[in-house]
């Protein structure tokens, strides 16, 4: 049991529990101590020393992140000596860092750059002619690219990969001048056990980790007169894209984004939410079939490509449990180049299909060999929310003043069950709305399944559907996934249906989302909550809130697919995954990772 102590930070009296660190005490008092390697959601590291403070009575400067508070402690966070020490630390880091800020993908959002500027580091005051570390940039992955020369060895990527995602892809190798962050055996990320989730990008303070940039090839297709460029946008993008233009997280900018996409030169704008509804129809019926015909249970959702690769690599024993449904992105890709191509008379080879996703792993998913069922690569290029923001800025579009416009038909209409795909628990809720009504034939009295909402690491619910008590679970973060699967294997947990999302908070916390602005940091609860509220708001405003009532869904089954799980669906909308090598060993089972307290 911790007791309260009183201390003085920069002349301000602060009362905090005695097990706090100086960093936590300062944060709670609203005093921001600069930091590079510290992150409140990750374990202590104490490597960068930027957070040093001047504690009265202590001989040396103390690192705030790893020094415990004491009753009566008096400290300064920016004394003359501290300011000088921090400046020297930044200078030392810059001496071993490429000076190419102008052409760096992280410029403007780089913590190191920001600090150099705010600490007043001037280029004429320090000049270093000695040797700098040289590493080749790792471009082996279609999702994440790593430039080790820009790495300052803060270790946040290593920790997020191990502690939140349980994948342990990255490690520090060698030491001293040769120290580097790499996957095992110095493999490229593309050959490693990396799930492509991109959380390492979100926590990286420099440009060492970034998504693989696909904007140039998309521009190229837009400018190509022989291509018809079609685009789809994912639910989680519309409530985050505004952040790139100074708006609050969670602001619904769906229809402004549609306008922006047309102005950029995309010919046809479709909505991934349509194919989210389609996924619910297929996945819902698959679940009903497994439930009633003694199929493999629990069934696990298949929308999150990071989870799919995690399963193939770390838990191949669960591959049979994964729904055979493709993700909404890939269903849309397959439908565009078949159904829509036929309907519109556009030759599929002329179609260039782009998707805007909150996700880096979607780049990997689109490039998978399984995803060519239309006879072509179903989705040609995937852009993250960040990449789209960059394109809009390049085109000089004043995003906040855009008029709203509608999606194109017939793949643009969606029900309220579709937007919530972007928040953890949403796919489950959307599926339950449809499964319940299809099985019982009765209308749902309470459409909101609040038990599966929220930001707790693992959530459970029991839903009576006719005589069956359907047990469901929802989880996010691959460390939680590993825990859940292990406990299922041990017989400690039993479910019929599980929703798994790779990223914290679901797609809204994806590896391709805008970097948090202002006071917010990566993995920030408040940002995720606002984005989730944005999606639930879209759901509530819709008149039709169940996938099976979407009229365009009814139409596509009448005209093209015929029946759920039918022959056409089987060819275009379903797939199978296979065990991978190298096979990974996930982290040890810890407690459930709850970045967010349940409300």
């Amino acid at each position: 049991m911790s007791k309260q102590i009183t201390m003085t930070i920069d002349g301000v009296a602060v009362s905090v529990p005695d097990d706090y660190t100086i960093m936590q005490a300062a944060d709670s008092a609203g005093i921001h101590i600069p930091r590079l390697c510290y992150h409140s959601k990750l374990s202590q590291f104490g490597a960068c020393r930027i957070c040093v403070v001047d504690v009265e009575g202590m001989k040396n400067y103390a690192p705030a992140c790893s020094t415990q508070v004491k009753d009566g402690m008096i400290l300064q966070t920016h004394s003359a000596g501290i300011r000088k020490a921090r400046k020297v630390l930044i200078e030392l880091l810059l001496n071993n860092h490429p000076r190419d800020c102008q052409v760096c993908g992280k410029s403007g959002e780089c913590t190191l750059q920001e600090m150099a500027e705010s600490f007043g580091v001037k280029s004429d005051e320090f000049s270093f002619e000695g040797e700098r570390k040289t590493f080749e940039t790792d471009r082996s992955s279609v999702a994440v690219r790593r430039d080790s020369e820009k790495c300052i060895l803060c270790g946040k990527c290593v920790r997020v990969c191990s502690e939140i995602q349980g994948a342990n892809v990255l490690t520090f190798s060698h030491r001293g001048f040769r120290a580097n962050v790499v996957p095992a055996y110095n493999l490229g990320l593309g050959e490693s056990v990396c799930t492509n989730c991109g959380q390492c990008i979100n926590v990286c303070p420099t440009g060492a980790l970034l998504e693989h940039d696909n904007t140039e090839e998309v521009w190229h297709a837009i400018h190509d007169p022989n291509k018809v460029v079609m685009v789809q946008i994912a639910p989680a993008v519309r409530v985050a894209i505004g952040e790139g233009f100074g708006n609050e997280p969670g602001k619904d900018m769906t229809y402004e984004t549609v306008t922006a996409l047309r102005m950029l030169g995309f010919d046809i704008v479709f909505d991934t939410q349509f194919s989210a509804d389609l996924t619910i129809i297929e996945e819902g019926h698959e679940f009903i079939r497994r439930l009633t015909q003694k199929g493999k249970l629990p069934m696990i959702t298949s929308c999150s490509p990071g989870w799919i690769k995690f399963c193939e690599t770390f838990h191949p024993e669960f591959l049979e449990n994964i729904s055979t449904c493709k993700s909404p992105q890939q269903m849309m890709g397959a439908v565009i180049k078949t159904y829509y191509a036929d309907k519109s008379g556009i030759y599929p080879a002329k179609i260039y299909s782009v998707s805007i996703m909150p996700c880096t792993a979607k780049k990997f998913e689109a490039a998978r060999p399984e995803m060519n069922s239309s006879g072509y690569q179903d989705v040609d290029a995937v852009l993250t929310t960040r990449e789209l923001i960059k394109m809009i800025k390049e085109a000089g579009i004043d995003f906040n003043r855009l008029k709203k416009s509608e999606f194109d038909h017939p793949l643009g209409e969606s029900s309220g069950a579709a937007p919530i795909f972007g928040a953890t628990g949403g796919v489950m809720e959307a599926a339950l709305r449809t499964v319940y009504e299809v099985v019982t034939g009765k209308e749902l009295a309470q459409i909101d399944f609040t038990d599966v909402r929220g930001l707790e690491g693992i959530r459970e619910a029991v839903i009576p559907v006719n005589e069956i008590e359907v047990r469901v679970a929802v989880t996010y973060g691959l460390a939680n996934v590993h825990k859940l699967l292990t406990e299922i294997e041990q017989g400690k947990r039993q479910y019929h249906f599980i929703e798994i999302m790779t990223c914290p908070g679901g797609c809204i916390g994806g590896g391709g989302q805008p970097y948090p602005a202002g006071e917010a940091e990566a993995l920030d609860t408040s940002v995720y909550e606002k984005r989730a509220q944005g999606l639930y708001g879209i759901d509530e405003r819709k008149v039709i809130r169940k996938s099976h009532l979407n009229p365009d869904i009814t139409k596509i089954y009448q005209e093209f697919l015929k029946e759920p799980l039918g022959k056409v669906s089987h060819k275009l909308l379903h797939t199978h995954y296979h065990a991978r090598h190298p096979k990974g060993v996930p982290a040890r089972i810890k407690d459930t990772v709850n970045l967010f307290k349940a409300k």
């Binding site: 342990n168 490690t171 190798s173 055996y185 060993v585």
Partner: protein, 195 residues
């Protein structure tokens, strides 16, 4: 990794198998099932001593047995100089590039060695027979330039001596040096080789 196994001779493959059996027994004996991760350092020492280096195959095996991610093992194996990720050669050649040897023409000796062995500094020949490394002073500057093969020191070196010396070690069995690079014991217990 597979390449390494493919390149192995039948005898080496047999020895590799034997070593894995011994490693398995070591892990069975020493590693506590309730906290296997703790044993990592000891197990890596065992691997290094058994195989002479830490192969990817061995790291994969240790990873599975101890449930430690391969990334962590790789990090540890590269951090400590004691561990080697490359197979050590049978005969370890060190050329002195200390001041006296450098002035005395050590670099020319080094270049000749590189040419003869077709490898660079820090590398091992493809047959695993020789490794070539630089050293700083062997403590006999008056006899410079100096090079060392295993425990044998060759003094007042000139490039022309290089092929002669290498030839000795290539047909190593007849010269009192075993395939493992260790000196075979002679009856008299004397050093078997002199330059």
């Amino acid at each position: 990794m597979e390449k390494q196994t493919q390149m192995m001779t039948e005898a080496q493959k047999k020895e590799n198998k034997k070593n894995f059996r011994e490693l398995q027994a070591f892990i069975d004996d020493t590693v506590k099932p309730e906290d296997p991760q703790r044993a990592l350092m000891g197990v890596l020492h065992k691997v290094q001593n058994l195989f002479g280096y830490i192969s990817q195959e061995a790291m994969d095996y240790v990873s599975e047995r101890l449930s430690v991610p391969t990334a962590h093992i790789y990090g540890m194996a590269t951090f400590y100089n004691y561990f080697s990720l490359k197979p050590k050669a049978h005969h370890k050649i060190h050329v002195c590039k200390g001041t006296a040897c450098y002035v005395g023409g050590g670099a020319r000796v080094l270049n000749r060695l590189k040419k003869e062995l077709e490898i660079g500094e820090g590398d091992v020949t493809s047959d695993g027979l020789f490794s070539l490394d630089i050293t700083r002073c062997l403590g006999c500057c008056g006899l410079s330039p100096v090079m060392q093969v295993n425990d044998d020191v060759y003094v007042r070196m000139v490039p022309e001596k290089v092929p002669v010396i290498l030839k000795k070690y290539r047909s190593c069995c007849g010269h009192g040096i075993g395939h493992n690079g260790r000196r075979k014991k002679t009856k008299a217990g004397k050093k078997a080789v002199a330059a």
